[in-house]
């Protein structure tokens, strides 16, 4: 999706302005939003690819005016309803203070317990799928051209790197393909390559000759040059 999240190469956002002694969170609600987000992957049953695709659906004006955790909140409200965990009526009711929790509810057996957090986070969940190895279409050193694709759905090929020539510098092996997995259509693993693009290929002849950008790109994004 060519939405405002695809920011690479834009101008006019101003200076980076790093914050001195930045706290990890800037408000108590950000902590709760963050914690809820990580737990909702299981509770609402969505993948990271769906999460990214979902945040990308934030309307552009809202994407720019909201901070990171506000976008996460918007995602959880939307995806919670889509997945059937919540309803719009429930969200409105609880915000209005009129929602009554069902009586006699006890904590679900599936709910993550506090002591399970640290092991789960240390375990993580790789998207590497070595068993799906198919013959590599490209080899390190090959020159490729990225395709000009403009899907309305999630993709990890940014606009600035479409229809550009680059060189394969690493073959990471097969990984879950986000373009398909974000649509809940299965993992469909594809080979992931690291591709080097010269700055003058991406941005034109005026850019420093020695600069370059590396991008991890899936095999379906690429064609032989």
């Amino acid at each position: 999706m060519n939405s405002i999240h695809d920011m690479g190469g834009m101008h006019n956002f101003g200076p980076v302005n790093p914050e001195l002694n930045e706290p990890i969170f800037h408000a108590p609600w950000e902590k709760r939003a963050f914690g809820l987000w990580l737990l909702c992957y299981d509770v609402m049953n969505f993948s990271e690819d769906e999460s990214r695709g979902g945040v990308e659906h934030t309307p552009p004006d809202e994407y720019l005016s909201a901070n990171y955790y506000e976008r996460v909140l918007g995602l959880l409200e939307r995806i919670g309803v889509e997945k059937g965990t919540l309803t719009d009526a429930e969200i409105e009711a609880v915000q209005a203070g009129t929602w009554k929790a069902p009586a006699n509810v006890t904590l679900s057996n599936d709910a993550t317990r506090p002591g399970e957090v640290e092991p789960a986070m240390q375990e993580g969940g790789t998207k590497y799928r070595p068993d799906f190895a198919t013959p590599a279409l490209f080899s390190v050193g090959d020159t490729i051209v990225t395709k000009n694709i403009n899907p309305v759905t999630h993709t990890r090929l940014p606009r600035y790197a479409r229809a550009k020539r680059g060189e394969i510098v690493m073959d990471h092996g097969p990984y879950v393909f986000p373009d398909v997995n974000a649509l809940c259509q299965g993992e469909d693993p594809k080979r992931l390559y690291c591709v080097r693009f010269e700055a003058h290929e991406l941005w034109g002849a005026d850019t420093p000759a020695r600069d370059c950008v590396y991008l991890d790109l899936f095999e379906p994004y690429l064609e032989r040059a």
């Binding site: 990890i24 709760r32 963050f34 990171y68 506090p114 986070m121 420093p208």
Partner: protein, 196 residues
Amino acid sequence: MAEHRHKRSLSEPEARVKALEELLVGKGLIDPATIDAVIDYYENKVGPRNGASVVARAWVDPGYKARLMEDASAAIAELGYSGAEGENMIVVENTEGVHNMVVCTLCSCYPWPVLGLPPVWYKAGPYRSRAVIEPRGVLEEFGVELAGDVEVRVWDSSAEVRYLVLPQQPAESDGKSEDELAAMVTRDGMIGTALV
């Protein structure tokens, strides 16, 4: 934009997050103490000190450095760091001729097990938009001025593989202990927006 799309009226985020938590807890789906545990883990147990100890070890132990450059995930796990948002790691090394810098233009992918959660600027428009098109301008704002013959490599990080920069060991740090070296390494040095 004078748009008139139907969307939920956005109350303040405090109220929205409280509402969401009340619903999910009230339905028995989430234990609020587990939210506390998640926050505690990312406030207190992971952060750039993890990455700094990886860098310091690589500086003092050539065998470790070789393993780190060969299989970063395994070498980082040797020091006890692993997991979510950093399952598959690659370390890129700064040299006299090459400066590396990491960004995620599409969202804000970042190696959590070694750096913790990213700072606001890493997730915001200015850095995400500019790092790939004018990395030297961004570096100058961070006080990093590179000679014209240094190659700047920007890693526009994907979700699948996360990148950590191995800064050059400062010449004046020879003879310092591993702990002292680790204390010199900054988060920005491992993102590539500082030299150390």
